[in-house]
Symmetry: C3
Subunit: 140 residues, 3 copies
């Protein structure tokens, strides 16, 4: 019999960078004894995003950050929306280039992540924020 469940995580960031929360996800699945279903992860912000990426070492995350910093320069004179700081409009663009929602099948109590995949919140602002992530599970 299929049922659904809701939850919300708050992730405190300390400025720009990738924050893994795979464990927080898995803990919610375990605590509720979900076996099989579909997990939806939804970030309620426009200047941070969600990313599934390599969790083996820190250098991939460092290079991702370096690439996006070069691609979307802070304080670019192209931007008219600058009242909230030179990192604000880049944060919106970095969010548009990635995503705020993920759908992950859960099978036999485990999300279908590959061996090297971790689930990250990507903070795009230079200051820290409290980021709210809505979780939904439908299954059994």
């Amino acid at each position: 019999m299929l049922r659904q469940f809701f939850h919300e995580l708050t992730i405190a960031t300390r400025g720009r960078g990738l924050y893994e929360f795979t464990n927080g996800m898995e803990r919610w699945i375990e605590e509720n004894k979900f076996n099989d279903g579909l997990l939806t992860i939804y970030l309620r912000h426009t200047s941070a995003s969600l990313l599934i990426q390599e969790n083996a070492g820190p250098d991939v995350r460092r290079d991702l950050e370096a690439f996006f910093k070069r691609l979307v320069p802070d304080g670019d004179s192209l931007f008219t929306h600058a009242a909230e700081g030179g990192d604000d409009m880049p944060a919106h663009i970095r969010t548009a280039l990635t995503t705020v929602n993920l759908g992950v099948p859960v099978c036999a109590g485990r999300p279908a992540l590959g061996t090297w995949q971790g689930i990250y919140l990507w903070e795009h602002r230079t200051r820290g924020h409290a980021r709210r992530v809505a979780l939904h599970f439908i299954g059994e």
Copy 2:
């Protein structure tokens, strides 16, 4: 008892730009008295995309457009697919850099959007088009 529902919206665009349809989504949810579930939004095109972004003022949208126009220049000599106009291949690339599908939890009759989040159709062609968005809701 979980059930599912389908709907289709048609959004008439007037050329390149972001068209908010958060209200159209919410109206469908209200009319059908959906309480809790998962909403899937699916765009049936390859030269327009879906975006969840800031809906506070028009300057974020103007800057998003300016950034993507610079990142993916119309009429770039790199492109061989040019028979449908210099904006056609950039439209496919802009779609690839964003997305054509979104999954949003709905809780107590409201999509889990953050305070500043709106749901947009992003038209990437310079001419207007009638864009078809498939909606699916599973829940109760």
Copy 3:
């Protein structure tokens, strides 16, 4: 009565490029006589991605490849993560710029794809790999 189903496809790639598997998806839907529901497609890798794009001719795919190759150059000196080859870090970035998960409504036995939309695995490494795609269907 809603039910759910799981499956896994393995797609053998022969190096960088777009590999359509719309048919593989549709075959799974037909074999199981799924009528209406939500299909989730989830790629279990961090150096390849999923893309819904034009399937009319090969030139759009060629230009997508050319654009991403220019945007994220192989062997860029910006990257510190280079031990696995000059195409490895670009593969992670190209994955971050696209996606590893898709949600597609299925209605009357057919995914809600538009006329020109095909579902692709995008291999970002120059060598071939066996890529695993998890499928989930919830519906009736």
